[in-house]
Amino acid sequence: MSWNPTDYQFAWNVVWQYRFWLLEGTLLTLKIAAVSMTLAMIFALPLALLRMSRLRFLSGVAMIYIAVLRAIPLLVFILWMYFGVTLVTGLQVDAFGAGVICLTLQYSAWLAEIYRAGLQAIDKGQREAALSTGLSQSRAFAKVIWPQAWRIIIPPLASNFIGIIKDSSLVGVIGLNELMRQAQIADSLSFRPFELFTAAMVIYIILALIISPLASLVERRAARSLSVQTRRATRTRRSLGAAA
């Protein structure tokens, strides 16, 4: 059986025919990504703080956790979690839960490193100034350190959100009808892989294209005062005389 690409008759109407399937898949993809990302963003903060702990045992534990989770291929992790762990522990975890757990755990490791880089970029003097006026450690963090680090963290956070959307396509292997799997099922019924996977690809691209400018908008708004600072700091010092 030979297949000559030049003979291929496109039938884009199949995409229209399965539009609700694809839409449903897209919504589930977004749901998985949003839930996992939110949880990962929360979980990553204590992880980053542990990693930065002065107690070597704590930072060691965090370091190992991060290294291990980043090393596991996500597909293996998902299969292990859904089929393996449930079998051994007897816990009933549905596909959605298993997928979210895996994405959350793995992305929390990535995000923890991003948080750490952001937090370490803040001058030590900021914390000292806050403490010197009597702020507690936690208030200094919440009011002074984190708002500044946050601005540094937003752009890599956005690219990780795009990453989590793409990686959620792997969750289809445990039977979750996200976008990728919906396209696959539609293909198995219609034998139109080119059209359907093209459609899936286009949807992934659109999602990414929506997120990037959204993130840079947030970033620009958040970083306005800071970016002004770096540009002006040197200039003002030279040119501005005694203005008062």
Binding site: A129, L131, T133, L135, S225, L226, A244
Partner: protein
């Protein structure tokens, strides 16, 4: 509410007892001894100027006074209460530290203003957070402090929109707004262009005249001569010499003499 720091002068005259007392302080980083047994008493209303060669331990000494740097040994007493060492539970220890620091203002060489907050909110943060003032009260208080340093019209400027001299004056206002009983300055003018130094020294001199207790690390010898009640020469982790203004013209120690010749 006694907003301005002019009120300080009144109780300054009253007593000249020790306000802040560091005794036999030692501190090392790794295996480098940075402070080797320093005792320093700051009396109410007194203006202590600390000077000495780079790396001599001036900043470390100053930072021990509000326990930003924890001594390895020695004692720190503030208003008769011992703040170091203490036998507190972990929770209490933080509260006691906060209590100490909220009464001691500190001004840094590199200003350390919060870049994400405008001048006003740089000042109000600790008022609402530490002093638990209402937003409105904090705002009034901060406006008064900023007015004292001549920056009332720059309240809505971010640090990035201010000159170095203005930034340092906001930093002074931030410390002042807490009504500190003593102000610590760590080389407040050495990150400034020469033409901006005057405006900051001017604010500090006025503070001094109004009776604020001050400990100032500086290489501005003119300021030291005008304002210093006691000059302390710190070198290699010890107080090599201390005394009145006369030690600037007739230093008793060779090290002091050598340093002054190099600076002047």
């Amino acid at each position: 509410m006694d907003g301005s720091f002019t009120s300080v002068s009144a109780d300054t005259q009253a007593g000249a007892g020790p306000l802040l007392e560091l005794k036999e302080a030692h501190k090392s980083f790794g295996h480098v001894d940075v402070i080797k047994g320093v005792s320093l008493t700051v009396r109410k209303g007194e203006h202590v100027v600390i000077f000495g060669p780079s790396g001599g331990g001036k900043s470390t000494l100053l930072r021990m006074m509000n326990l930003l740097e924890t001594p390895d040994s020695g004692t720190l007493t503030f208003e008769g209460k011992q703040y170091f060492p203490r036998m507190d539970s972990v929770l209490n220890r933080h509260r006691v530290l906060q209590q100490l620091r909220s009464q001691i203002g500190m001004v840094f060489q590199r200003f350390n203003l919060y870049p994400h907050l405008d001048a006003l909110h740089n000042v109000t943060l600790s008022l609402t957070d530490v002093k638990r003032m209402s937003r409105k009260a904090a705002r009034l208080k901060a406006e008064a402090s900023l007015a004292e340093v001549g920056l009332k019209d720059r309240m809505d400027h971010y640090p990035s929109q201010l000159s170095g001299g203005q930034q340092q004056r906001v930093a002074i206002a931030r410390a002042l707004a807490m009504d500190p009983k003593v102000m610590l300055f760590d080389e407040p003018t050495s990150a400034l262009d020469p033409e901006l130094i005057g405006e900051v020294l001017g604010v500090m001199e006025r503070l001094a005249r109004e009776g604020m207790t001050m400990v100032v690390v500086t290489h501005e010898m003119g300021f030291a001569r005008r304002v210093g009640d006691r000059l302390v020469f710190v070198s290699e982790g010890v107080i090599a010499e201390s005394g009145g203004k006369e030690i600037l013209s007739t230093p008793g120690e060779d090290r002091t003499k050598a340093f002054l010749e190099a600076v002047l």
